[in-house]
């Protein structure tokens, strides 16, 4: 790897870690202040929202009530996003006169956005009206992220409270996450992005004159929309010429800012942050990439502050960072080494002062190899799923790392809120395993870990692999599942495995060659997203409720300290063990075979 590349990666990690503490401190304040006497700068708006909604902000909720409020809120979100898509043709702010979206695609996108997955079955600029993007997607980018944040805060309260039967108020936690954390950060980021060249307008798409006209041909269609074939069975083609280019525009900056900050990832345009209007410069790229991990990193510090021991937060952040950095230094060199197939064709793939070199298929010149591969790791470590390069065209190893990061359960930073609550569940498992091995009482942050918590933790850890492996297996046995595969051979298997890893862990990135916008995948992946979001959130809240009811056990000789580097290591091993044992056989059939084939052929 080049020195310049090393510098850019280091700068990224250092900036991220430096921002974790100030933002984490601020966030802890947001969640700990009582509504009365609160000095929040938007307090009057916040209170107005509660009053109009008939919500008593001081009412404490048991875990079941908290879960019901969350589910009810997300259910409403589903109906709104679904409805907006189904009726966008008759609704305003649709300058391109785009038609209504099919029921299966609308279902998939609505589920995708309420579950904070933001899998893009649709192609933004070709299917969604400005209104759908704003009222449907942008709003869910905020509130689905805020829902995850609320669940994390409830879990933290479970550790903090003693002999209590309540976890706080879902409406308050969710509203505050939106108003005080996501909204100001999004405003700030969207302002900077616009300055860099991200579009923000309600004007229709702009047509411009080309410097050189383009001749092209398309197959002729009959009235039923089928290709007309000649006597030899070849399609008739129509030869056409164009001297115009239509530039897709829209209110993009406001959506892109929150799509990054809320670990959502659903792009305004089809190719997401590879699009020059979505991510125009290396600086916009750096900031969008920083926004992906910013809140998940800061939450570690918030967690430490709220449980009264910041070392607990640093240990988790340290464990996450160690795994992240290691995997960055697997993916970047894999992409920098390039594709041996191209070397045999006499193509120059060496990095120099004149070019980035490496595997540039599906990558943008302004980002080169380092910023593309770094983004790929960061976006799959977090459950963001936005892309600035096409993962399907990555080298086998370069593409395997993002896939595996999702399969680890989205706990290496993970989604806002959801990443840390997932990691805390792994910490619970880690203290339990350590307790078994060395005969110590399993306890974490002063709370005894007993059979009930372990059962819930097991559910949380096992649901995503069940979705991923089960879904992949089913898809590959069905003709309809295999019909969508684009690339042949082992890579085609990887496309399906990647799609299920993404949906089954609420990430949302894709090996884009797979034609996923078909009824089968729209429906099946939609179900996977629902299960892996809510069947994890509800048991997490159950753990929180059970912990809150317990008394605090004093630290004794038998307590395993959880603020040490040793515990960080134990945590990493637990995460990697589960991830490796579950997925290595499947990965061997896809990226690993393809890697060997690629080396063997050339």
């Amino acid at each position: 790897m080049t020195a310049q590349g090393f510098l850019q990666i280091s700068l990224y990690i250092v900036t991220l870690l430096l921002l974790a503490k100030p933002l984490g401190t601020y966030m802890a304040k947001v969640y700990q202040d009582n509504s009365e006497g609160s000095a929040h700068w938007l307090a009057s708006i916040e209170n107005l929202l509660y009053r109009l909604s008939g919500i008593n902000a001081d009412q404490e909720m048991r875990w079941g009530q908290y879960a019901l409020a969350l589910l009810a809120f997300n259910l409403m979100g589903f109906f709104v996003v679904y409805g907006l898509q189904r009726f966008q043709d008759v609704l305003p702010l649709n300058p391109q006169a785009l038609p209504a979206i099919s029921p299966d695609s609308s279902f998939n996108t609505a589920v995708s956005f309420i579950t904070n997955t933001n899998w893009q079955g649709y192609s933004g600029e070709a299917t969604l009206s400005y209104l759908t993007q704003m009222l449907g997607l942008t709003v869910q980018n905020f509130v689905s992220a805020a829902s995850g944040m609320a669940v994390l805060v409830a879990l933290i309260r479970g550790f903090v409270r003693r002999n209590s039967n309540s976890l706080g108020n879902f409406w308050v936690d969710m509203t505050r996450s939106t108003l005080y954390i996501l909204l100001p950060l999004s405003l700030l980021l969207s302002f900077v992005l616009v300055g860099q060249g991200v579009v923000q307008t309600f004007k229709p798409y702009q047509t411009v004159k080309l410097q050189e006209s383009i001749s092209y041909s398309i197959p002729k269609l009959d009235d039923a929309g089928k290709t007309i074939l000649d006597d030899e069975g070849k399609p008739f083609v129509e030869n056409l010429q164009t001297n115009e280019q239509t530039l897709a525009l829209g209110p993009a900056a406001s959506q892109i800012a929150i799509k990054q900050l809320g670990t959502n990832g659903g792009g305004f345009f089809n190719v997401n942050s590879a699009h020059p209007f979505e991510n125009p410069t290396p600086l916009s790229n750096f900031l969008e990439m920083l926004a992906i991990l910013l809140i998940p990193a800061a939450f570690c510090f918030t967690f430490g502050l709220m449980v009264g021991d910041t070392r607990q937060g640093w240990v988790i952040l340290g464990a996450m960072t160690l795994v992240l950095v290691t995997l960055i230094f697997v993916t970047v060199p894999a992409e920098q080494n390039g594709n041996p197939v191209l070397t045999t064709l006499g193509i120059d793939q060496t990095a120099s002062t004149q070019q980035a070199g490496g595997n540039m298929e599906g990558k943008e010149t302004r980002f080169g190899i380092v910023n593309s591969a770094l983004w790929a790791v960061v976006t799959t470590a977090a459950s963001n799923g936005s892309v600035n390069s096409m993962h399907d065209s990555y080298t086998p190893i370069g593409g395997m790392v993002p896939m595996w990061l999702m399969q680890l359960g989205e706990v290496i930073f993970g989604g806002v809120g959801s990443g840390l609550y997932g990691m805390i569940v792994f910490a619970i498992v880690a203290v339990f395993i350590a307790g078994l091995m060395i005969g110590r009482t399993p306890e974490y942050l002063g709370k005894k870990i007993e059979a009930y918590e372990m059962k819930m933790a097991a559910i949380i850890i096992l649901i995503p692999p069940l979705m991923v492996l089960g879904g992949t297996a089913i898809s590959l046995t069905l003709a309809v599942g295999k019909a969508s595969i684009f690339n042949p051979g082992a890579h085609g298997f990887s496309e399906v495995l990647y799609a299920w890893s993404s949906a089954g862990n609420n990430n949302g990135s894709a090996f884009g060659g797979l034609s996923a916008n078909v009824p089968y995948y729209n429906f099946m992946l939609g179900l996977a997203m629902l299960f892996s979001r809510y069947w994890l959130m509800v048991p997490v809240l159950a753990i929180a409720g059970s912990l809150a009811a317990k008394k605090k056990v004093p630290t004794g000789l038998g307590t395993l300290p959880t603020h040490t580097p040793l515990f960080a290591l134990l945590l990493i091993i637990t995460v990697l063990m589960v991830g490796a044992l579950t997925f290595i056989p499947a990965l061997a059939l896809g990226p690993i075979i393809e890697h060997l084939q690629m080396l063997g052929q050339h």
């Binding site: 850019q8 708006i45 409020a69 009810a72 809120f73 409403m76 192609s123 600029e125 704003m134 709003v139 509203t175 300055g195 060249g197 579009v199 923000q200 798409y205 411009v208 004159k209 080309l210 410097q211 050189e212 280019q245 239509t246 530039l247 897709a248 209110p251 406001s254 345009f269 590879a274 699009h275 209007f277 290396p282 600086l283 790229n285 750096f286 594709n339 197939v341 006499g346 193509i347 120059d348 793939q349 980035a356 070199g357 298929e361 599906g362 990558k363 302004r366 980002f367 390069s389 096409m390 399907d392 065209s393 086998p396 684009f486 690339n487 082992a490 890579h491 090996f511 060659g513 052929q601």
Partner: protein, 195 residues
């Protein structure tokens, strides 16, 4: 359940107003006032005032008089800015090596004497299909050809290319690159001026 559904719906609608209407409107007002050029797509005009592209979005060039940009995988024609797309071809897909061989052939046909190694970005499709840039190596590879076709001195052309070379942003971020559309517009402009 209605105890939850009613506040859920009202709160959602209110937050829709805040994050789906007020927030994007605020950003739009800010953008249109302070960054009017960027917010509307960084559009380029010719001296006659006609819109001829965006400085952020590439265009397709296949005439040997022009510098060529990255291959584009958008459909039904390259650089379709209303339907961005990458090729999504996997590294071992035979279709990838076939596409690349065809692109090598196209480059060799218009410039048979060129012995320089072909830079990778010149024969691989970009992620967006709209990439406006090429690497310095990809420009250098084409300088001799464009100079010959336009009967320009190679050194003068190299100076023009240098003038359109963008360094890493703040000397750190991203990769050095050349905006193909702006370079080609400048080439045409120079031809008009020298007549």
């Amino acid at each position: 359940m209605t105890t939850y559904l009613k506040p859920a719906l009202i709160l959602l609608l209110l937050l829709t107003l805040v994050t789906g209407v007020i927030y994007p409107a605020l950003v739009t007002v800010f953008a249109q006032t302070l960054f009017n050029f960027q917010a509307n797509g960084s559009l380029l005009k010719n001296p006659q005032g006609q819109l001829i592209g965006s400085e952020l979005i590439g265009q397709s060039f296949s005439d040997p008089h022009y510098f060529w940009g990255r291959p584009s995988a958008t459909g039904p024609y390259p650089y379709n800015a209303a339907a961005s797309s990458g090729s999504n071809l996997g590294p071992t897909n035979p279709a990838l090596s076939a596409a690349i061989s065809a692109r090598i052939q196209a480059l060799k046909t218009v410039d048979p004497d060129n012995k320089l190694p072909i830079p990778v970005d010149l024969i691989t499709a970009s992620g967006s299909g709209l990439d406006p840039h090429i690497s310095l190596a990809a420009a250098e590879y084409q300088i001799n050809r464009v100079a010959k076709m336009r009967k320009l001195d190679e050194e003068i052309l190299r100076e023009l290319v240098d003038a359109y070379t963008e360094d890493r942003q703040w000397f750190v971020f991203g990769e050095p690159r050349i905006n193909v559309l702006k370079l080609n517009i400048a080439l045409d402009q120079q031809a008009v001026n020298s007549k």
